[in-house]
Amino acid sequence: MAARPVLRTAVRAVRVLPQSGPSRSCSSSRHVRLFSTTPRSFKSPSDHATSTSSSTDRTTHFGFEDGISEAEKTERVAGVFHSVAESYDRMNDLMSFGVHRLWKDHFVSSLNPGSSSSIPPKPQHILDIAGGTGDIAFRMLHNAHTIHRNTSVHVTISDINPSMLAVGKQRSLSLPPSQQSALSFLPADATALPASILPNSIDLYTVAFGIRNFANIPLALREAYRVLKPGGVFACLEFSKVENPVLDAVYKRWSFSGIPLIGQLVAGDRDSYQYLVESIERFPSQGEFRDMIVDAGFVVGGDGYENLTGGVAAIHKGMKPLDG
């Protein structure tokens, strides 16, 4: 780890430069988000100045480092993500043995967007936060358009990083035209969504492998509550705590030894993947996160979460009550 301070200096130097497009430099990529590559770096112009103004004062954590200001976390999590897209799928497949695709498929099919009881179907507006590469959004469009033959579903892919949105845009070109026309892209900070997303206007708010990296999770949950329609659903796919102690020991060994090693060998970037596993470790457990969702005003059904692969990942769902 002797190279770490040097690397950090290099990253800082790069960060100052204005970034015009995807950078191919691996050395500049410090922090990579697993499975959804959406750094929280760029503060978009927004009307919610109150939430951003104080973010320099409040402190949060970054991996196992404490006492980082929220603004700095936002900046550091961002790092430089532009080179990620290339190794993105390969890394995810290697780290999760391909299971992340099953999780995402299950996540979308359990939400079942596009299913409607009325003829013609009621339009649905889905907001996919931290969905830069379109993994979730494309699956939802497939579910609505191909399975339910419901073309009145619109998906807005939102991400804090415009260059990640560019990756998603590039990928969306291979979709059928009808699905492309049902997509829109919005660079935005999830803790302060822009005025273009009206309050009480969203049917389904999804965030997959992104909320862990938010500088202020309760604020993001309240923001989700604000933009959702009464009866609208907040759904989150995120790493969680493994409940079986034997499986947990294997999983910990894999995540703290295997994943940084693969990151080093495949993506040439150990520190980013070290942050990744540390941030997973710091994320609250299923029950704690469920309570955070309830505190934001949502109602949950049953336990409020569903474990995937023994708790390696978990799906949390909450609904904005009708009188909310």
Binding site: P121, V299, D303, K317
Partner: protein, 263 residues
């Protein structure tokens, strides 16, 4: 174990309650009357969606479509059904749980009516436990009548591996409820066989009922009675076999001892 303070307090509480307290003695003694019952399995929102969706089951079955229609009737969005943890299986659970809970008031009505019937009084109380069990299992089967043409579909969903534990648990609770309501308080090993028996008979009869076209499901009732009768015969036979095996084993050990083995 020394009588716990809670038990003493409960006994005192009963004395105060007088007549009402005596009625309580028929109920499960491990119930607490000092605390409100635990919250039900469904919260207010789930209950609103599921109860509205349940009215669509006879027409649309235990499906996502019925759930969506229910959500719409209750004023929710199409997507709101995603908050139910198990989708259509939640609707099936709603049926199972509400019908099980409805059994208690029904059983009171049935046995009180028997008591009040002209002729030899208190017939409901003198009824044998086996007969009461049969009556209650039949009553529970009858409450499937409205959705019986959709029940094969529901059974298929319940047999999915991820839903099997919850389905079996609900069946166990039903068997427990039937025995509790029939007034059986035995806590010997027959606790298990009794509940196993009534569960098996109930499941078989339920399956039979999905294809029963006889008026008033009369054949299903005969089927249920035959199954319960058979299992009591089998129970007697098994008891005989066990007794025989025990005797043989003891005799075998004694023979070996008589040959000088140190057992």
């Amino acid at each position: 174990m020394a009588p716990s303070r809670a038990f003493t307090r409960l006994a005192a509480h009963r004395r105060v309650l007088g007549v009402v307290g005596r009625q309580y003695q028929l109920q499960r003694p491990y119930y607490s009357y000092d605390h409100p019952p635990p919250p039900g399995p469904f919260n207010q929102t789930e209950h609103a969606i599921l109860s509205a969706a349940y009215t669509h089951v006879p027409e649309h079955g235990f499906t996502q479509h019925a759930l969506s229609l229910g959500a719409r009737d209750a004023g929710y969005l199409d997507i709101s059904t995603a908050v139910l943890p198990d989708g259509p299986f939640s609707l099936i659970q709603y049926h199972l749980i509400t019908k099980r809970q409805a059994l208690a008031p029904k059983s009171r009505a049935i046995f009180n009516a028997l008591d009040a019937a002209p002729g030899d009084g208190a017939k409901g109380q003198t009824m044998k436990i086996d007969d009461r069990v049969e009556r209650l299992a039949w009553e529970r089967l009858l409450s499937n009548a409205d959705v019986i043409h959709r029940w094969q579909q529901a059974l298929a969903v319940m047999a999915q591996p991820s839903h099997v534990p919850a389905s079996l648990r609900e069946l166990a609770l039903l068997a427990d409820e039937i025995y509790h309501l029939s007034g059986d308080g035995a806590v010997d090993p027959s606790w298990y066989t009794k509940r196993g028996t009534v569960s098996t008979a109930y499941v078989g009869a339920e399956l039979f009922m999905t294809n029963d076209r006889s008026p008033g499901f009369a054949q299903t009732r005969e089927f249920l009675q035959r199954r319960l009768e058979e299992s009591s015969k089998v129970g007697n036979a098994l008891g005989g076999v066990a007794q025989w095996m025990e005797f043989t084993a003891v005799a075998g050990v004694n023979i070996l001892r008589s040959k000088g083995m140190r057992i």
